[in-house]
């Protein structure tokens, strides 16, 4: 029997959507998920006696969810992009409905009423709300009537994003709500006043510096910087705006002096603790700093080449909590060492950059904005999750997409990825 496989393959590649598929990101996606499953296996693996939680089936669960994702892949890929676009509001509506429904039918796991339990499966609607919100945001921003310079548009966008966020915060699951902030990058990309970004960064830096060095030092430093920038601009720019400089300086100083008030009255103690741990203002390694410290020990003890698959002592001893979900990167750091963990970071970075690059090539605004939003969402998860395990970002309980255990998260991000692939492959249609 002659081998027809190459012919069939070439037929597929030449004449169908497969030829236009972004194969690099597909490979990265498959690699990341498989690597994730391997590490979930390691975190739940026990050599002999004493398996005190029945985590054993998380690996199989994650595996079947992966199989499920693969199986819905063709359906999403072969759906007409315009159809997805039209359904945006429907999805958004369903999402909001499901988030509302949680208050009546939701199931509480570790303090957050964020899950539906349906026939043994737990579904987290906030993960799916990310897709819907992204779609509706893309739909709105791509509309010709809307522009980021219009107050009306800004207001709409504000509501689109904060509506699901508010519902999620009320569950309460502030971590999952926080990732919607990733959409800020989409707004910047689509024309939001850049001063918002600059001031945002300035306020962030002021916030941290005030916590570290106090209001007076921070104010003096800020004043010095503002004056330097002012005089540089005076020398090189044709006209300078003295009042705006003075105004922003005043706002900076005012902000710096209100940081402690904000920190102490808007933040809860546990949130303050998380900041204090990261900034080194609190070194309680047994109590509130335990997780971060153990995570750093796990990663640090991995050394250059790691302790090897299934050989992580920190992992086996369950020293790091939630190791198959939020803290999975600490297992990777411990067992795969610097080589493995830096490769993962590089792979993830390439994946995000690839999506940004391909998104920018889109001619149609809706598709570009959706893909860009997908990249932003990935970035914010990547930044917060790995930053947290490395002790750079205060603890926020969110998973690492494609890697962490969690069905809803994997399905939601896979769907977004498949939609991106669909849009990307149909770029010229």
């Amino acid at each position: 029997m002659p081998n027809h496989f190459p012919e069939i393959l070439s037929l597929l590649m030449n004449n169908t959507i497969f030829s236009k598929l972004d194969w690099l990101s597909v490979i990265l996606y498959l690699a990341l998920v498989c690597f994730g499953i391997i590490n979930i296996y390691s975190t739940t693996y026990t050599e002999d006696f004493f398996n005190f939680e029945t985590l054993n089936n998380s690996v199989t669960k994650q595996f079947w969810i992966f199989v499920f994702c693969i199986s819905i892949f063709p359906f999403i890929l072969f759906t007409k992009p315009i159809f997805l676009e039209h359904l945006s509001f429907v999805f958004y509506g369903l999402s909001l409905l499901s988030l509302f429904g949680l208050f009546m039918f939701g199931h509480t796991i570790s303090g957050a009423n964020s899950w539906y339990l349906i026939g043994g499966l737990s579904i987290q609607p906030s993960e799916f709300a990310k897709i819907a919100t992204t779609m509706v945001l893309a739909l709105n921003l791509s509309s010709i009537q809307n522009s980021m310079s219009q107050k009306r548009t800004l207001l709409k966008v504000f509501f689109i994003i904060t509506l699901p966020m508010t519902l999620i915060i009320l569950q309460p699951d502030p971590g999952s709500a926080l990732v919607f902030m990733g959409l800020f990058f989409v707004l910047i990309r689509e024309g939001l006043d850049l001063r918002v970004l600059y001031f945002g960064i300035a306020f962030f830096i002021l916030f941290i510096f005030t916590l570290l060095f106090g209001s007076l030092a921070t104010s003096l430093g800020a004043s010095f910087l503002v004056f330097v920038v002012f005089f540089i601009q005076k020398r090189f720019a044709s006209k300078t705006r003295k009042t705006s400089f003075l105004l922003s300086l005043g706002v900076f100083i005012l902000f710096s002096y209100s940081v402690n008030f904000i920190f102490n009255s808007f933040f809860k103690q546990r949130h303050r603790d998380r900041f204090n741990i990261i900034l080194g203002l609190n070194t309680d390694k047994q109590g509130i700093g335990y997780n971060i410290n153990q995570s750093k020990i796990a990663i640090g003890s991995g050394g250059f080449s790691g302790k090897g698959f299934l050989n992580g002592t920190q992992t086996k001893g369950n020293f790091v909590p939630k190791q198959h979900t939020d803290y999975i990167f600490s297992t990777i750091g411990e067992e795969w060492g610097f080589i493995g963990s830096s490769l993962l970071i590089i792979a993830f970075t390439i994946f995000i950059l690839r999506i940004i690059y391909r998104a920018e090539r889109q001619n149609l605004a809706y598709r570009r904005i959706f893909s860009y939003a997908f990249a932003s969402m990935l970035f914010i998860h990547f930044f917060i999750n790995i930053g947290m395990t490395l002790g750079l970002v205060p603890t926020v309980g969110i998973p690492l997409p494609f890697i962490s255990y969690g069905g809803s998260n994997l399905i939601a991000f896979s769907i977004m990825f498949f939609i991106y692939l669909n849009f990307d492959a149909n770029r010229l249609n």
Binding site: T46, E47, D48, F49, F50, F185, I188, R189, E190, G191, L194, L197, Q294, K296, I297, A298, I299, G300, S301, G302, G303, F304, N311, T313, Q314, K316, G317, N318, F319, G333, E334, G337, F338, S341, S342, I345, I346, F348, T349, I352, L353, I356, E360, Y372, A375, S376, F379, F382, F383, I386, G387, L390, G391, L392
Partner: protein, 620 residues
């Protein structure tokens, strides 16, 4: 355009930051590995069973037995039948509650010991009820088992190493057993074997969750070789039974090797008292008995005046220094006047003419007083004479540690010229001043093992092997550890003295020690002794002393017996020594009447005298 690159820049910056932090944590912070190991790996020592101890004939004396610690993990506590448990363990309810609270304070999730060292018998009977107490479990440990409850002072004991010792002994672990006293202490390194290590993986609650890396780093323990004592356990036990209700010591040595056949001290204690749950309670009782001092090894540590057996040494020195010959005759007139107005009493009738042999078997004080004087005064000065005398005695192993393989001992005392120069003034003393040394009173002090050793030296006609308690593993080791120590006395001089000692038993002071068909050589002693009672020097009944060896030719055993306040040497010490010799050489004792008298005889009334507070008579 700047908007397009913002997310790009953030992504790149963020991943650079992460990689920088990875480099920092994984490549430049080596202490994380240690922190992780401290966290997650537990090194647990595996203790080999302590080496077994056999007697010289291969009789097993000391082995090991399991005991059980009752453990609890506070986390697992459920309600249980408190009453049954406390009545079974024989503890108060309060004690149990206190223990459980303490365990919980220590750790909620880690095991703690509730009751230490429950015996295997108690454990067995409790085992069938264990199902009622799911919160508790037993943890096996190994402690000593004394199959033959004997020689406790010689064997020593084991107990847990204390935190103070741990600072110096880094190769020990908390809770490890260490030998205390006796053989257990001297041969600690040999008996403990070599510890193994096993590595375990811990979880975040410090619980063991399994072996670490399939035990590839584990090391098996090495069990030590067994130890063979030189002690004859039957002789040892026999000696112990003979000393019941007496205080004193017996040391028996094989002259041809220096092997100690028996080391008896009385009062004694049962070595099984110092294992198990009651150990510390029992130990306190033993320590607090400051009158009978059961932990005091009289065979090794008690310094007594040697009394008349010491005369044999003076005779030998006299012969060697040629101040007397076997034919020298000294006249005794119920004693003799050694200085103006100073008279040493003797029990010889007036006008007794003694040669050396008769001087020995009659234990004539005058004979040896005169001999001693000649030894000292034949030198250019008394000081030189005395130091020469001391040198001779030192060669018999007196005045210093013998160097045997047990951790305790006393030097005894042989005075030197400088000692007397200090005491009197230089030149202010001579032989007459120190005449008591002639008869083993005065300043001279010896321990029973030193006496047994010089007896062995006489039996050997001029040399001894350092006494020792364990059999060397090979002849080569034996030769290097225990070379012959020669005295400065020529061999021919011994024969006269030995003949005198033989006559002691044949027709002298110790005829009671005579054994049919065995030529016993011996020398009795009766030593005055004093204590301070209410700040007043008070004389007590004399100590009963006997040294002997047998048979006369090719001696197999040399023995020293010391019975505190037993009065005449022939009353207690000589019969006991004789019975020991008979037991050792013949295996059985035929003189059951004598045996019975010694076994049943008690000196407890004598010992009670000075404590009664009433005035008392001595030497009854």
């Amino acid at each position: 355009m700047i908007r397009k690159i913002i997310l790009l820049a953030f992504t790149l910056g963020c991943s650079l930051l992460f990689i920088f932090q990875l480099i920092n944590l994984q490549l430049f912070s080596p202490n994380y590995t240690e922190l992780s190991n401290n966290n997650a790996i537990e090194k647990r020592p595996i203790y080999p069973n302590r080496g077994l101890i056999y007697d010289r004939n291969g009789v097993l004396i000391v082995t090991n037995q399991p005991v059980y610690d009752l453990m609890v993990v506070p986390e697992n506590l459920v309600s249980f039948d408190t009453l049954e448990l406390i009545s079974f363990l024989d503890i108060s309810k309060q004690y149990l509650i206190e223990k459980l609270k303490k365990s919980n304070r220590f750790s909620h999730k880690l095991p703690s010991i509730v009751i230490r060292q429950i015996s295997k018998e108690e454990h067995a009977s409790f085992q069938e009820k264990m199902w009622k107490y799911p919160s508790f479990y037993f943890q096996k440990k190994s402690v000593r088992d004394y199959l033959i409850p004997t020689a406790s002072n010689l064997l020593g004991y084991t107990s847990k190493i204390n935190p103070r010792e741990l600072k110096n002994k880094t190769d020990y672990n908390i809770g490890e057993m260490i030998g205390r006293q006796g053989i257990e202490k001297t041969y600690e390194q040999e008996l403990r074997g070599e510890k193994g290590i096993s590595f375990f993986q811990k979880d975040r609650f410090n619980r063991i969750i399994g072996p670490y890396k399939d035990r590839i780093f584990d090391k098996n323990p090495i069990i030590s070789d067994n130890l063979n004592l030189t002690i004859d356990v039957l002789l040892q036990q026999y000696g112990e039974s003979l000393l019941i209700n007496k205080r004193g010591g017996i040391v028996a040595i094989e002259p041809s090797s220096g092997e100690v056949l028996a080391l008896v001290t009385a009062p004694n204690y049962n070595p099984n008292l110092l294992i198990g749950r009651e150990r510390s309670k029992n130990f306190k009782i033993l320590v607090s008995d400051t009158v009978a001092k059961p932990l005091f090894n009289r065979g090794l540590q008690a310094e007594y005046s040697p009394g008349s057996p010491f005369k044999t040494l003076n005779a030998l020195i006299g012969l060697q220094e040629k101040v007397i010959t076997p034919e020298t005759v000294f006249t005794c007139n119920k004693g003799f006047s050694y200085a103006r107005g100073a008279f040493m009493k003797c029990h010889c009738p007036i006008g007794t003419k003694n040669k050396l042999v008769r001087g020995i078997y009659n234990s004539c004080n005058s004979f040896f007083g005169k001999t001693y004087s000649k030894i000292i005064e034949s030198a250019p000065s008394s000081a030189e004479g005395l130091d020469r005398w001391k040198t001779h005695l030192e060669k018999f192993g007196l005045g210093n540690y013998l160097g045997y393989d047990l951790p305790i001992g006393k030097k005894g005392f042989i005075p030197s010229s400088s000692y007397y120069d200090n005491w009197y003034k230089k030149g202010g003393w001579k032989s007459s001043t120190t005449i008591s040394n002639a008869i083993g009173q005065g300043e001279v002090l010896t321990t029973p093992i030193q006496m047994a050793n010089f007896t062995a030296t006489i039996a050997n006609r001029g040399y001894f092997f350092k006494p020792h308690f364990t059999k060397p593993k090979s002849q080569k080791i034996r030769d290097s550890l225990y070379p012959k120590n020669y005295t400065l006395i020529e061999p021919q001089h011994f024969e006269t003295v030995i003949e005198g000692m033989h006559q002691v038993v044949e027709r002298g002071t110790a005829r009671i020690a005579k054994i049919k068909d065995i030529k016993v050589c011996g020398k009795t002693g009766t030593a005055e002794n004093f204590i301070r009672l209410n700040n007043e020097k008070k004389q007590l009944t004399d100590h009963s002393i006997f040294v002997a060896f047998a048979p006369k030719e090719n001696p197999k055993i040399a023995i020293a017996v010391f019975i505190e306040n037993g009065y005449w040497g022939s009353r207690w010490a000589a019969p006991i020594a004789s019975l020991m010799i008979e037991k050792y050489l013949n295996g059985t004792v035929k003189r059951s009447w004598l045996e019975k008298r010694m076994l049943e005889g008690s000196l407890m009334d004598e010992y009670a005298k000075p404590l009664s507070g009433n005035s008392f008579t001595i030497n009854e």
